[in-house]
């Protein structure tokens, strides 16, 4: 581990919640404006999380809280591997493990809404995982390495070589960010048929931990999106940042335009996009190689 990667990991650990909260604050305001409302303050997401941690410690059973904490730990851990410049597949595997713990926490409470959320979360994982794995494969085929540290040193921004992968990745990013057509497992919006499925039985600090994990995870996913734009050229970082901001705006837009879909559509559409966008790009990259 070099000093450089150590610094970036420390920055990730400290700054992620801050940046993700700001993004979320802006997102709420933008969404409100689209709907003709005034919206909350920019720092509202901060206050929300702080408040959770000051609440009373309650839980439904003995194992719920430890599972949520394990979820939080592995989510942060996978991000740390990513920003340390390690193997991107390992990042994805660690992230999967984090998700598994959250799902188990929801299962453990033995309640209808939580269980619906947990099962839908599993479905969402099944829908997006092929694409995230394929994205990693795409990076490997383009740069010859799975290491994030090597991927950011490529000669050209990888979006040039992997437009199909990028398209597919954006698609599943909507699932990962729990945005509207695909927010089956849990959602903030009061008009959905099930609102807080997955996290429905979490309260107080335990809920705070799951929210915190979510923030870290979002930064990780945005980092992966940024990988498509970063090259050995230092200026490219700015392009990557711009791309990420545009991506976030597009997701708010999508969130407001589309109503929630049924689970079959979620699964089918994301697999079809993976198969055609990712698959076609994969074939081309393998042939060029």
């Amino acid at each position: 581990m070099t000093t450089y990667s150590l610094i970036s990991v420390i920055l990730y650990l400290i700054l992620s919640p801050v940046i993700a909260c700001l993004f979320s604050g802006v997102d709420r305001i933008v969404t409100a404006r689209m709907q003709g409302r005034r919206g909350p303050k920019l720092l509202q997401p901060f206050y929300d999380i702080m408040k959770l941690f000051s609440k009373e410690n309650t839980s439904v059973n003995e194992i719920q809280k430890i599972l949520v904490m394990a979820h939080c730990f592995f989510a942060v851990f996978s991000g740390a591997i990513f920003f340390a410049g390690e193997d991107i597949l390992l990042v994805l595997f660690a992230l999967t493990m984090a998700e598994v713990f959250l799902i188990l926490a929801a299962y453990s409470v033995n309640a209808a809404y939580s269980e619906i959320g947990a099962q839908r979360e599993l479905l969402q994982m099944m829908a997006y995982e092929p694409m995230t794995l394929l994205t990693a494969v795409g990076f490997y085929l383009s740069v010859g390495s799975f290491k994030v540290g090597d991927i950011i040193r490529s000669d050209v921004p990888l979006i040039v070589k992997m437009p199909g992968f990028f398209l597919g990745f954006c698609f599943i990013l909507v699932i990962k960010f729990r945005k509207s057509p695909f927010d089956l497992a849990t959602s903030h919006h009061a008009h959905q048929e099930v609102i807080k499925g997955l996290t429905g039985d979490l309260a107080g600090p335990a809920y705070g931990f799951s929210e915190l994990a979510e923030l870290y995870e979002e930064i990780l996913m945005l980092g992966m999106a940024g990988l498509f734009f970063i090259s050995s050229d230092k200026i490219s970082i700015i392009w990557a940042a711009c791309a990420v901001v545009i991506l976030l705006f597009c997701m708010s837009l999508v969130d407001n335009i589309f109503p929630r879909v049924k689970w079959e559509s979620l699964l089918k559409s994301s697999w079809i996009v993976t198969l055609f966008a990712g698959g076609a790009n994969l074939v081309i990259l393998s042939l060029v190689r």
């Binding site: 410690n57 309650t58 839980s59 439904v60 059973n61 003995e62 194992i63 809280k65 430890i66 599972l67 904490m69 394990a70 730990f73 592995f74 591997i81 390690e86 193997d87 597949l89 390992l90 595997f93 660690a94 999967t96 493990m97 598994v100 799902i103 188990l104 929801a106 299962y107 453990s108 409470v109 033995n110 309640a111 209808a112 809404y113 939580s114 269980e115 947990a118 099962q119 599993l122 479905l123 994982m125 099944m126 829908a127 995982e129 092929p130 794995l133 394929l134 494969v137 490997y140 085929l141 799975f146 039985d201 079959e264 697999w271 993976t274 198969l275 698959g279 994969l282 074939v283 393998s286």
Partner: protein, 661 residues
Amino acid sequence: MPELAFLILFPFATAFILFFLKRDSKVRSFFVFFGAFGELAASICFAVDSLLHRDLEMGTFFLPDTHFSDMIMAAVEVCLMLIVFFLSIKYKKYFVILLSAFGTIPAVYLDFSGISETTASHIKVDYLTMIMILVVGIVGSLICVYAVGYIRDYHHHHKEFKDRSGYFLSMLFVFLGAMMGLISSDNLMWMYFFWEITSVCSFLLIGYSRTSEAVTNSFRALWMNLLGGCGFMAAIIFCICVMEITNISQLLVFATLPSMAVFPVAMLSFAALTKSAQMPFSRWLLGAMVAPTPTSALLHSATMVKAGVYLLLRLSPMMGGSEVGIMVTVIGGFTFFAASLLAITVTDGKKVLAYSTISNLGLITAAAGCGLPEAVWAGIMLLIFHAVTKSMMFMSVGAYENSTGSRDVEDMHGMIVRYPRLAFVMTIGIFGMSVVPMGMCVAKWAALKAFIDSGYVYLTMFLCFGSATTLFYWVKWLGKIFSVSRGSMKHEYTVCFSEWLSIYPLSFIAVFLCIVYPLISRFAVVPYIQNAFSGSLSRFVTAAFPDSTIVPASSGTVAAISTEDFVIMGVMLICMCILPLAMRFVNSVQERRVLSYMSGFNAGDDRSFYDSFGEERGQYLSNWYMQDLFGEKKILTGCLILTAVFLICIMASCAVGGLFL
């Protein structure tokens, strides 16, 4: 040589004794323990001894002249055939007679006419053999230990079946011996002999309860395996008559797959596909679920199905890029994906495990068909991890069934409170199958890298999609186990000592392997691969896939997984292990227990609620099986037809190309 003879013959001797001990008694238990632990110790001793003293690089050869034992084998084969004849006539399954005769008569003819006489050694021990001996010796023996307690409970619960437990235990040992013989044989005739024993043996074990379902399923297993046996025999005849070779190592000296060898390699691969229950032959393994659990565990984990992939892994250096390689990779990759989809839709615990076995074997098959060193590395690792983890899963499901009377995943709701120890073991098993710092996924990861390098794009796609579906069915099972129903109590175990005696060591090995696999890789797997792909053989591989690199000699792991990765995974593993301890710590903080959320309509506890009429109603939470989308009724037949058509086409082209061109 005496050690090896002991390894093969000792289980047969134990089986012979057990056959006469029909009643459950201390004496019988003693013989089973003695036989199983003797075999276990012998296999470990043999492996250590071989590693230290034998030349495993080139393989140590034994037994050039075997006229006498060949005659005995021929006699046994005739006996097996007669058993099959008798039972086929008894149950009116006449076509099986034909299949059995097609395989056995040429074998007997070759033996007696002296055509198959050879001066080449019949037995060969190299690294792969040693690994297999360890897997079969340790996992197989522990399953036999488990069987002692299980079969007693089984007959306690199923009074309707005739107690033939002596016969049952004896068959398990025959199986073990046959498997040991199969993996150490180099001579194709010998291999075929043991191959047929496992086929017939599995048939007898599956039909143990003699219900009509068991009989149907056992005949299905028999005819599919005998069909594979016929393919095996065709390969032998071709090898002996056309190529004038008798041993598998003589077949493997060819650098690439020469057009002359296409036919036998295709036929042997076909036999392996049937044995490993790949689509379109997977139904026999699903049917094998009717048998008592030790049978399923033995068939699914350490023996039978592993014989098929073992053969494929042996042939792997010849398959890369060839027509046969394409056949094996397509079938394997497709089976991996399709079986994992099907596993989502079934509720019977053993059936989930069966589909998962088929799926994982598909992955090993695909890795073997790739013909790349890294892929073979992944394949062997998968084989080891799968044997340990899967047998453990079977045993805990069996133990649960004996305790509660059900093996349905739905009935495992809240197992973590009711049966904490079994739940803990199952958790290790499921984590071992599905998440990363544990073994299976590490091997899967290596397989992914190898598939990308191989240039078979469809394999990469199958693996990406298949991993996602695999995760789904494992985690939802785990979720069931973790559901804590309020007020449920710890139940009494009825699991016997002998069952714990095998479940605990296996779960320990499953975790332990995750730490020591680099050592296994360094001292056994990598040397084997270097040897198998050395010299002329690797020329083909590097020419076809210039990017692929032969595994570096010095490193413990393969190039696919770096030391840094290993360290990170170690950290993850440690974190997982301290989780139960951390739970104590977290729970020591004062907190309030609340009811779960039911829109405020909880009827006093978490188990019931007030419905819209204000009446109290119990809640039942079911898992999600998606049967409308890809249930067995929807896709199984389609998958089988698709793979069958593909297999027939490509086999036909291999046969025409191999025989006439």
